[in-house]
Every structure is written in structure tokens, then in C-alpha cells.
């Protein structure tokens, strides 16, 4: 399958200007190499700092143990799973993996297919909570937009669902998703959904 590449623009935090980036509808070896060779050492340095400063593990970045090589290998060749990546300045800036087999829970869309956002992670140097200043902004939004656009393309009308790590709850509320509360069947993480109307409003805003 050939990878579809579209141009998007991210915010360069240092200059306030825009940075041209690629949104790719796949996670390929180059992205996994970046994750291994660039993300992992950057994240390790942050974790060592947190440990040295006595910050409890509950306040560490909650995706620190995610292994993208494993996640990608587990769904290799399965139609139900798709990946996205954002590449800018020659480096992978964000990754996402979605599952197309899930159905809605929000009362207006119970049982209707949606795109479920399994994992979304932004490179450590773009995460405001991990350092003095992120390099780029807009990576997470670009990946969410890609997932909503996929939902539209698949005929799911923009419906989107996800379990949020506590550190990301505010972000998903800000983009207009409905918080359906903690899910006892999924590590008590909050479950969020985007309805057809919310997806339309979100895409108009982006």
C-alpha cells in the first residue's frame, strides 16, 4: 500500500512562524527508527531528571512505557488498524494508531461504528509538560484531525472515541469531545467521544 502524504503546518514556538510538515497515513520504519533513536533518549533524559528530583511516578508522562515498534508489529497487515505520523524538519514529531472495529457509546450514537484512537503520542521535545519550551505546536491536533477525517472517509461521519490519559483530559474537552466518565473496564481512564455534530464543528475550526 502506498503512503498518502499531505502537507500541514505546525507552529514554530521559538519564532512564532509556521513550519511545513508532512502528515503521513502510515507508521513506517523511518518513524520507528526515530522513535527508537531520537524519542527514547530524549524521554529517558526527562525521566532521569524526574527521578533525580523525586517527582512521584504518578506525575511522570503517562505514555513513557509505550513501545511503538511493538504496537505497530501487533497490527501488521490487519485492515482494522491504521497509523498516522507527522514528520517535520526531517524528524518524526508525532504518531497515532487507530482501530476501526469499535462502536459508539454516547446516547445519540450507541452501536454505530467509529474510529477509536488507540494511541497518540507527540515527540518529547514538543510536549510542554516535559521541558521548558516545546519546539512545535499543533502535532496532536493534526493527528486528531487525521483520525476524524478518516472517520468521514470510512463513512463513520466523523465519529471518534478514545480513552484519555489523565494528563490529556483537558485537551479532549477543549476540542469539544463529550466526556462519558471513567471506564472501570479500562484502567478507570476517562472515555471521550466526538459525535457527528462535534466532528463537523471540529473540522470547520481546524
Amino acid at each position: 500500500m502506498t503512503t498518502d502524504v499531505s502537507t500541514i503546518y505546525l507552529l514554530d514556538v521559538a519564532t512564532g512562524g509556521s513550519i511545513e510538515a508532512e502528515l503521513r497515513d502510515a507508521i513506517e520504519q523511518a518513524q520507528l527508527d526515530d522513535w527508537q533513536v531520537k524519542w527514547q533518549p530524549a524521554l529517558l533524559a526527562v525521566l532521569q531528571d524526574l527521578a533525580r528530583n523525586g517527582v512521584p511516578m504518578s506525575q511522570w508522562p503517562q505514555s513513557w512505557h509505550w513501545n511503538w515498534a511493538q504496537k505497530t508489529a501487533q497490527v501488521q497487515g490487519l485492515l482494522a488498524f491504521r497509523g498516522f505520523s507527522v514528520v517535520a524538519c526531517g524528524e518524526t514529531q508525532g504518531l497515532a494508531q487507530v482501530d476501526l472495529r469499535k462502536a459508539g457509546r454516547e446516547p445519540s450514537q450507541v452501536g454505530k461504528p467509529l474510529v477509536y484512537l488507540d494511541y497518540l503520542e507527540v515527540a518529547p521535545w514538543n510536549r510542554p509538560e516535559l521541558g521548558p519550551a516545546p519546539r512545535m505546536r499543533g502535532v496532536g491536533s493534526a493527528l486528531i484531525t487525521a483520525a476524524v477525517a478518516l472517520s468521514v472517509d470510512e463513512g463513520f461521519k466523523g465519529r471518534l472515541g478514545l480513552h484519555s490519559l489523565p494528563q490529556a483530559d483537558a485537551f479532549y474537552r477543549k476540542i469539544g469531545m463529550t466526556d462519558l466518565g471513567q471506564d472501570s473496564a479500562y484502567q478507570n481512564l476517562s472515555y471521550f467521544e466526538m459525535t457527528v455534530e462535534q466532528a463537523r464543528a471540529f473540522l470547520e475550526e481546524e
Partner: protein, 70 residues
């Protein structure tokens, strides 16, 4: 957007009726129903191939029933 190919599908009236009903109930097109069915079938087939079983559990009674796949 991934490029798609077109094919003609031959279905009986009963199959077409089920496809129509699912399309309405799930709020997706008939093409989307079939693509969803293909994804699910491939997922299940891959797991059964690995030696796993497909079970349905009644939430109230906790009764489990195995779905046999041929």
C-alpha cells in the same frame, strides 16, 4: 485517502435485506458495512489461526458461548 477499486457483488434478496437493515441501523453506507465486515472477519480469523477462541458472554448471567468459525 486510500485509492479504492469497484466490484460487482451478487447478493440474494435476504442478504440484500440484511445489508440494508445494517446500513440503516449502523448509520453507515452499504459499502461501509461490507468493509467493516471484512475487517472484523480478518481480525477474528487471525486470532482463531493463533489458537484463540471467540466467546460471547452474557453480562447478566456470565454464561459463555463459543462461536464456531468454519
Amino acid at each position: 485517502m486510500v485509492a479504492k477499486r469497484t466490484m460487482t457483488l451478487n447478493l440474494t434478496d435476504a442478504e440484500m435485506r440484511v445489508l440494508d437493515e445494517l446500513s440503516v441501523r449502523k448509520d453507515i453506507t452499504k459499502t461501509a458495512v461490507l468493509r467493516q465486515a471484512l475487517r472484523l472477519y480478518q481480525t477474528i480469523d487471525a486470532r482463531v489461526d493463533k489458537g484463540e477462541k471467540l466467546l460471547f458472554e452474557n453480562e447478566a448471567t456470565k454464561e459463555k458461548a463459543e462461536l464456531m468459525l468454519l
